[in-house]
């Protein structure tokens, strides 16, 4: 799942997603150049997870926030090496 040019980052997954994928790790290291590639990497590891985070527009789902350094990101947002990426379920979606 790693690409030679991709940045290695730490990803933190939300509880609601872990309920659907109990075998998934809460914190894991992923190599991805941008947020879209990160979602693709998660989907490759746990098939179906990508569709939970990204719609067919395509964009990050409306009630999902993927945050880096306190900023909400989009699919094309670049990931710098060593970043921590938080995947959050929005309060509005509950």
């Amino acid at each position: 799942m790693t690409e030679p040019s991709a940045a290695s980052c730490e990803v933190v997954l939300p509880d609601a997603l872990l309920r659907l994928y109990p075998e998934a790790e809460r914190r894991l290291t992923v190599a991805a150049a941008d947020v879209g590639a990160l979602i693709d990497a998660l989907d490759q590891r746990w098939p179906g997870m990508g569709a939970c985070l990204k719609d067919s527009r395509p964009s990050v789902r409306k009630h999902i926030s993927i945050m880096i350094d306190g900023e909400r990101t989009a699919l094309e947002t670049k990931i710098v090496p060593g970043a921590t990426v938080f995947v959050l379920t929005a309060v509005s979606g509950g």
Partner: protein
């Protein structure tokens, strides 16, 4: 061989299952399943015992859940619920039908998907959204939803679907093309002179009569209807009912002339049972005359509604009939509607009720 009667209940907070023996006297309720996601429709395939639940979660999107052990273990799939790039994405799965080895799924915004692998992967039936009327489809109060899927029992190529607000559409070629089937149904919310368009009717529910695939019954936003020709021409059957407005319809499992509706007080009057008195209305002559079935139902201070997929019959010799309210009460009758009782209460908003009878 003993029979088990299973009620499949879709609610705003998950799937519930009520189970009884064939006496249908005592019911055991269990749930919520499907992680308490909003579930719009739950069906069972009596041939295999498999249960399918359609819904959508605001976080993670549309999904179909599946259980092959009567609800103990569930799997979930959202694979393939994709529209073209740039289009408004699929928000939720709304309706299900299993027939001829395929699982059809209606979604919001309105579209039709099909699974050929028993609910693991889904593919859009693209011709429906290619219908020339598509740009005129608009959401009703429940959204722009495909809520009714009625497969032909014998012909795998023939299928009816209904969309709020767009109308009834029919395919006879396995989904390659769809044509509108709305003649005779009224769009009473349109200006005078424009109330019988080709499409744009707010159909709320369609069901097929037992043993007569050409006969459909329809509850519409404005009126109750029957057709005897696969939807080529609908006729009004609302005379004798207390209002033209309601959501569900249920066909008797053995008698094509018997149909049930639950008229509400009106589209702009609050959408609850008329005068706060609950009644299911039954016709035994295909809609010519009607009887109000009230025995065992609350006759004062009842201000609930019943949503479009929330009434169903079982298929025992003396048919059971069931409905769930938007205030979370599930009612049942084991004598075709003559007498009613409460099966469960204090549930979340009930979106749908279906039945499955299996043999031990």
């Amino acid at each position: 061989m003993a029979k088990r009667v299973i009620l499949l209940i879709g609610t705003k907070k998950g799937t519930f299952i009520a189970e009884s023996d064939e006496t249908r006297q005592d019911w055991a309720l269990r749930g919520p399943y499907c992680d308490a996601w909003p579930i719009n429709h739950v069906i069972g395939d009596a041939a295999t015992g498999t249960i399918y639940a359609a819904g959508g979660n605001e976080w993670f999107g549309p999904s179909v859940w599946k259980s092959t052990d009567l609800g103990q273990i569930w799997t979930r799939s959202g694979n393939g619920f994709n529209y073209s790039e740039g289009e408004e994405p699929v928000k939720s799965a709304w309706s299900l039908a299993k027939s001829h080895g395929r699982l059809h799924v209606g979604v919001e915004p309105a579209g039709l998907f099909v699974s050929a692998d028993d609910g693991d992967n889904f593919e859009q039936v693209e011709s429906l959204r290619a219908h020339p009327s598509r740009e005129t489809w608009v959401p009703g109060a429940g959204g722009l939803i495909l809520h009714s899927i009625v497969p032909h029992p014998d012909d795998p190529n023939e299928l009816w679907v209904a969309i709020s607000t767009a109308g009834v559409f029919h395919t006879a070629d396995g989904g390659k093309t769809f044509d509108a089937r709305n003649k005779g149904t009224r769009a009473g919310f349109m200006p005078e002179g424009m109330q019988y368009p080709e499409t744009g009717q707010c159909v709320h529910c369609i069901v097929m009569a037992a043993g007569r695939p050409d006969r459909l019954y329809q509850q519409n936003h404005t009126g109750m209807y029957r057709c005897d020709d696969g939807g080529e021409q609908w006729v009004s059957i609302e005379e004798g009912l207390p209002s033209e407005f309601g959501f569900p319809a249920a066909a008797h499992p053995h008698d094509a002339d018997t149909v049930y509706f639950i008229p509400l007080n009106g589209a702009i009057e609050g959408r609850y049972v008329p005068d706060g008195k609950a009644a299911v209305w039954r016709s035994r002559d295909a809609g010519a005359t009607w009887s109000a079935l009230r025995s065992g139902l609350p006759q004062e201070n009842a201000f609930f509604g019943v949503l479009r997929q929330a009434m169903a019959t079982d298929n025992l010799d003396q048919a059971g009939i069931y409905f769930g309210t938007n205030t979370g009460t599930l009612y049942g009758s084991r004598d075709e509607g003559d007498d009613w009782g409460v099966i469960a209460q204090h549930l979340p908003v009930i979106h749908s009720v279906e039945t499955m009878v299996i043999h031990d």
